[in-house]
Symmetry: C2
Subunit: 375 residues, 2 copies
């Protein structure tokens, strides 16, 4: 391999493809990026057990690529060193040349690195073929909104692996996302153009990387099968495995009849919850809400540290008096992703889940289970 | 105790006084801030083994203090909770009232915290009297410059405790600071107005906090004795212990005859060193410099990862050919604090220490010992 390419474009592609790599993988090859130069293109590939990313660079696809292939070939290089060397190299274009076995010379006008590569034959074959898959397109920004408004509610515990993923329900012209750790649930829905009818469960990390890679406003190609999901545009292909196991039926969990509905200025509610979480460092985050005689108060306490009490201003209340205790952190997490100045809390009882709604997005629902404590 | 005070002024004072506290001190009282309200003032005190800070707040000293003392008294409060509660409280003024034993109500118009205090009698007596001390004034910004340009070269190892401090040499109208970890040395000197002739060794952390606390351009009062150093203005008093043990005589270490002197654009030298440190993550930071036939090159290598090679542009060279190997990190550290666009490297031999000089500050000297390796 002996190539010359725009330093900026290579640096950007390396940084994107590296998103697939799990730091500290015990297999050295999986810490690497596979570079293959052939057919007037440079292909970068990186992978972990969850996610694989392939990026094609060519003068046809990228105007400013300035790719020249003096000799075709391939090499596997540790991602950390390759990223750092390319980032630190000065100059418009950068050259990569295998000079001796797996020793790669990476050079610009005034800087020359010689980096030990790895054997490209040690890299596992990654299967990007998608048999029996269905294809459609979706808007990257809509999808990012869908992921961001829900993915934080997935579980971090491997006790129930299916809850660590975001559940995507493709139902013809709609795509619904559901995330739950069994203490709270967030769901949202966007319109798409497809005739697909399928439910899949995608690892959280893969979705977060996908929304970062496809950050521009574009129509992204999606391919879906029973075992994997692929997102791609002309340059980049990202493939994620799916999480096996049956996802719980969650629709019946979401209450539709409420005994008390309250509207808030989101920032006022957010600040008030934040103030009540002053003892978060102690791992205590139970917040107690009391609506009584058209007054709303919020308090928190710990025997060791102390307590907080606030009157909490609301915009509108409709319903009966209620006392409820819940995790202030969960409410904080939901308020953080809600992109609206007004939100509502919708209670259906003191011991049943309540719903936080985004005034502007009727499909966006955040469900939180209360604690069964109240003094 | 029952007081009312400007929330902003209290918050700022708490944050400053907390700089004395060592997180995770095993003695709960030493995690606390002692608040004493008496004689129309509120006094905040915090301390660790190295440093003690006392701040006085009163309407006389701070126009916007708005201090009202309804009842005098004192209380000891965990710094973490007190800082967080005051920061999170909304409003112009904040009230602190002991309501029951050591339970303190901290409240504004719409938020009320009740925080468990600690017994103020558990707080050790801090001696701020400075017997046999000498007093003078110095400019805070000059002192900050002196500290910042040297303190990074102190040792982190307790093997030779005297090297963990910054050595301050008061010699009538000059104050010289020396720091060394025995592999490198940095020194600088400022003019002061005093008739003091004394050498002291001050803990690094204390000096860093002092430069942060006295960040405004002002004349600061200094008091110096055999056992402590104090910095103060009308509001704040900071006292640090001194490190015992004899500081090495360093003057004779600094070479004055050079066989090669080279001038550099600081940024060019900095970037070049940075590029050669691409394998820093491996703990390898040896950089090799080669001046030969009026050309200068810089290289670095490791068997495992690879190597780097650059031609290094310089502005001027005066002297004979030379090869020298040194820690790129040490040079990087020195270049980071040098506030000038031009620097010089001054070599007196291949195996003797070399000197980095700031073109604009003849008193600022950074000495670095070379490695005894060259291939």
């Amino acid at each position: 391999m002996n190539i010359k390419i725009s330093k900026k474009i290579l640096q950007n592609a390396l940084s994107n493809v590296s998103r697939a790599i799990l730091p500290n993988s015990p297999v050295p090859a999986m810490q690497g990026i596979l570079l293959s130069a052939y057919d007037s293109k440079l292909v970068l590939l990186a992978s972990s057990s969850n996610i694989s990313i392939k990026i094609e660079l060519s003068n046809t696809l990228n105007e400013n690529c300035n790719l020249t292939i003096m000799q075709e070939g391939k090499i596997l290089m540790d991602a950390r060193y390759l990223n750092e060397v390319v980032r630190k190299s000065d100059g418009e274009t950068i050259s990569l040349e295998i000079i001796d076995g797996q020793l790669v010379k990476i050079f610009t006008d005034n800087t020359e690195y010689k980096i030990n590569g790895l054997n490209p034959n040690d890299y596992p074959a990654i299967d990007f073929e998608s048999k029996d898959s269905k294809a459609f397109k979706l808007n990257s920004l809509d999808f990012t909104k869908l992921v961001n408004s829900t993915v934080f509610a997935t579980s971090d515990s491997e006790v129930r692996p299916e809850l660590t993923g975001l559940h995507l329900i493709f139902n013809h012209n709609s795509l619904k996302a559901v995330a739950t750790d069994s203490f709270r649930l967030s769901q949202n829905e966007i319109a798409i153009e497809s005739d697909i009818n399928l439910e899949v469960n995608v690892p959280k990390k893969a979705l977060i990387e996908i929304t970062r890679i496809f950050a521009a406003d574009e129509m992204v190609n999606v391919r879906l099968s029973q075992s994997m999901i692929q997102f791609s545009n002309e340059n980049i292909l990202v493939q994620s495995r799916l999480i096996e196991g049956e996802y719980p039926k969650t629709d019946r969990l979401i209450p539709t009849n409420f005994v008390l509905t309250m509207d808030f200025d989101k920032r006022v509610l957010q600040n008030s919850i934040d103030r009540s979480l002053f003892i978060k460092s102690e791992g205590i985050n139970i917040v107690k809400l009391n609506y009584e005689n058209d007054n709303l108060s919020i308090k928190s306490d710990s025997n060791e540290v102390g307590s907080s009490y606030q009157d909490l201003p609301f915009l509108k209340a409709d319903g009966k008096d209620l006392k409820i205790a819940f995790s202030g952190n969960y409410v904080e997490d939901a308020l953080k992703v809600i992109n609206a100045s007004k939100v509502s809390l919708n209670f259906s009882g003191e011991l049943t889940a309540f719903v936080i709604k985004n005034e502007k997005e009727p499909n966006e629902i955040h469900l939180i289970l209360p604690y069964r404590v109240y003094d």
